[in-house]
């Protein structure tokens, strides 16, 4: 079995980390994006209903 190249392994570790506080993994970032979408839909729906 090939040993992983140390440079590649270091780069992959760097890419796996998002560098964002409290959102350390990519699935969490994607979840935040989905949550912000949901929030916008709720706010836009509220605007629709409030001023209908």
């Amino acid at each position: 079995m090939n040993r992983p190249n140390p440079t590649t392994a270091r780069l992959e570790r760097h890419d796996d980390q998002t560098g964002l506080p409290a959102l350390r993994t990519w699935p969490r970032v994607y979840l935040l994006v989905a949550a912000s979408f949901l929030l916008w839909v709720i706010l836009l729906r509220a605007l629709t209903v409030l001023f209908a």
Partner: protein, 567 residues
């Protein structure tokens, strides 16, 4: 426009272009020329992706869309965040791992050479045909409103973008897009602030009036397929279109593969996934507030005043003037009814509020009818009249209500948007022609300097095609729609090539190649035999290509030899 406006416009546009060309001059390394110096951070990538998507039409026409139809158009972007998540999680890591210059190189590595050439060829055909529109569409509006010569507007803006894109390549595009977006946002925020300050009602009253006229109907969960904008069509259709555009269109792929690392590229995409919906909402809201503004302030019967004055001059029966008089009288009555509506609302007098509101809405419907009649009158005197009058609403407000200097800033913002998306398109067309055709078919072992020189020539060539196309756009009445139709005819099959590459790993190059040709033929046949909206061909092309590839692969004896992409 005054001298000050021209100074702001020319200073900002030429200044950014010269700075971009100077900072990136003398790049001879192919990787740097096509993908930047690989130190680009996520903010630059995020802005660059946003600037590439947002053309001048976004900032000129979207407020008009809000003025005419309200906020409902925002639903068209509901699929975009999920498409960007898919691109960041699936497409981007593969592009970076294979270290490709173009998205179509990936098809070559995953399938074979013929599939790569097919994907690249479809992109060049579609993007090359659309190339003139990003210059023509804002030029026709700005030249009409500002009294400039259309041909000179197209040639000067076209040459400016060609010069800095050819000189600096991808790095110049990324760099200039950052400053162009600063001009765009500066201009749009200034316009919004001035509109809010000049609005003769409080924000709550303004929203009440907008809501009364159904302009705040932002989310519609209806399952009626005849509704133009619904939550479901936006989510599903938007996902499909955004995935095609962000995942497979080289003008976007080239922006995000230029990141310093996978992390920077991903964050740049997520930046757009979070900000795109609020940005479109803000631009549409600007249009809605313009609608409210023109309920209190005198509005022209027809916002494209140049065309209107021509119609009045050529109208022997004086029906145009009669319509204008009716509209002015109606406008005064409507203002009174709206004032009464808001006063009754403040007093808590519900019956009076309901009555005044009904009268105001009836006035609004009558105004719309007069506008439709005015358009018919204009078409009678000028049958070649093109474009939607709502496209002229925002620019009319800018010219009538903004102080000198700021008019120049806003016009600069429109040009910045046109140049930033055009630069990305030319950059992508030049790169694809060099990497997927010239280097692959004509000269395989030349030096980097040679390929950079050839990319510059191809970029220049596509720039001339775009300018030439824009100059002759007026010869075909429905050319803009024709280009959209061409895009929809090809986009589905291109997306299918990538979806099969990523998700159906047992399908090989020969199966997908013939499936793509069969699907494309089917789309052509259906286009000429079925009377359905052209947007459906995106889905039909994609579904047919995926289905045919599975069928063909099932009948092929040998496993695909070309399925060799590392996972």
């Amino acid at each position: 426009m005054s001298l000050l406006d021209f100074l702001v416009l020319i200073g900002s546009m030429v200044g950014i272009a010269v700075y971009g060309a100077w900072r990136t001059r003398g790049r001879r390394d192919l990787s740097t020329y096509l993908k930047g110096d690989q130190t680009v951070g996520w903010v630059t990538i995020g802005i660059s992706v946003m600037a590439t998507q947002a053309s001048a039409i976004t900032f000129i026409s979207t407020p008009g869309q809000g003025f005419q139809d309200g906020l409902g158009f925002v639903q068209n972007y509901f699929g975009l965040p999920f498409a960007l998540i898919l691109v960041a999680a699936v497409f981007l890591p593969m592009y970076r791992r294979l270290n490709v210059y173009t998205a179509y190189e990936f098809l070559g590595q995953r399938f074979d050479a013929k599939t790569r050439l097919l994907g690249a060829g479809l992109f060049l055909l579609q993007r090359g045909l659309a190339a003139g529109i990003t210059i023509y569409a804002p030029a026709i509006i700005l030249s009409t409103m500002l009294g400039w010569r259309l041909d000179l507007t197209i040639i000067l803006s076209g040459m400016l973008v060609i010069i800095y894109t050819v000189m600096g390549g991808c790095e110049a595009v990324n760099l200039t897009q950052k400053y162009q977006m600063a001009v765009i946002f500066g201009g749009m925020v200034t316009a919004l602030v001035i509109l809010l300050v000049r609005l003769p009602a409080s924000l709550t009253d303004a929203l009440t009036v907008a809501g009364g006229f159904q302009k705040l109907h932002a989310v519609d969960f209806s399952l009626d397929v005849k509704q133009r904008y619904t939550f479901w069509s936006g989510l599903l259709g938007g996902l499909f279109l955004s995935l095609s555009y962000f995942g497979t269109d080289q003008s976007q792929v080239q922006r995000y593969i230029s990141g310093a690392s996978l992390r920077e590229s991903r964050l740049g995409l997520m930046f757009n996934a979070v900000l795109k919906i609020p940005m479109q909402f803000a631009i549409l809201l600007l249009g809605v507030l313009l609608f409210v503004f023109y309920q209190f302030e005198p509005a022209p019967l027809f916002f494209n005043q140049t065309a209107w004055h021509q119609a009045v001059a050529g109208d022997a029966t004086h029906s145009a003037q009669a319509l204008e008089q009716q509209f002015t009288a109606l406008q005064a009555a409507r203002q009174q009814h709206i004032q009464a509506w808001l006063a009754a609302r403040h007093d808590g007098n519900v019956p009076a509020e309901t009555s005044a509101r009904a009268q105001a809405l009836a006035d609004g419907a009558h105004s719309d009818a007069l506008r439709t009649e005015a358009r018919s009158t204009m078409l009678a005197t000028n049958p070649g009249l093109k474009g939607n009058d709502a496209d002229y609403v925002f620019i009319t407000f800018i010219l009538d209500y903004l102080p000198h200097g700021l008019i120049g800033l806003l016009v600069a913002a429109f040009f910045a948007a046109a140049l930033s998306s055009k630069a990305a398109e030319l950059n992508a067309l030049g790169s694809t022609t060099t990497i997927d055709f010239y280097r692959h078919l004509v000269r395989r072992d030349a030096s980097d300097a040679h390929y950079v020189r050839m990319t510059k020539w191809f970029t220049f060539f596509w720039g001339l095609v775009a300018v030439g196309f824009a100059l002759f756009c007026h010869l075909a009445e429905n050319l803009i729609q024709a280009v959209n139709i061409v895009g929809s005819i090809f986009y589905g099959v291109v997306l299918a090539l990538f979806l099969v590459a990523f998700f159906l790993r047992h399908v090989g190059g020969t199966a997908i190649f013939w499936a793509a040709l069969a699907a494309q033929t089917l789309v052509f046949v259906l286009y000429f035999s079925l009377n359905i909206s052209y947007l459906w061909f995106n889905f039909i092309g994609c579904a047919a290509c995926v289905g045919f590839s599975l069928l063909l692969q099932a009948f092929m004896r040998n496993p695909p030899a070309s399925n060799r992409v590392p996972t």
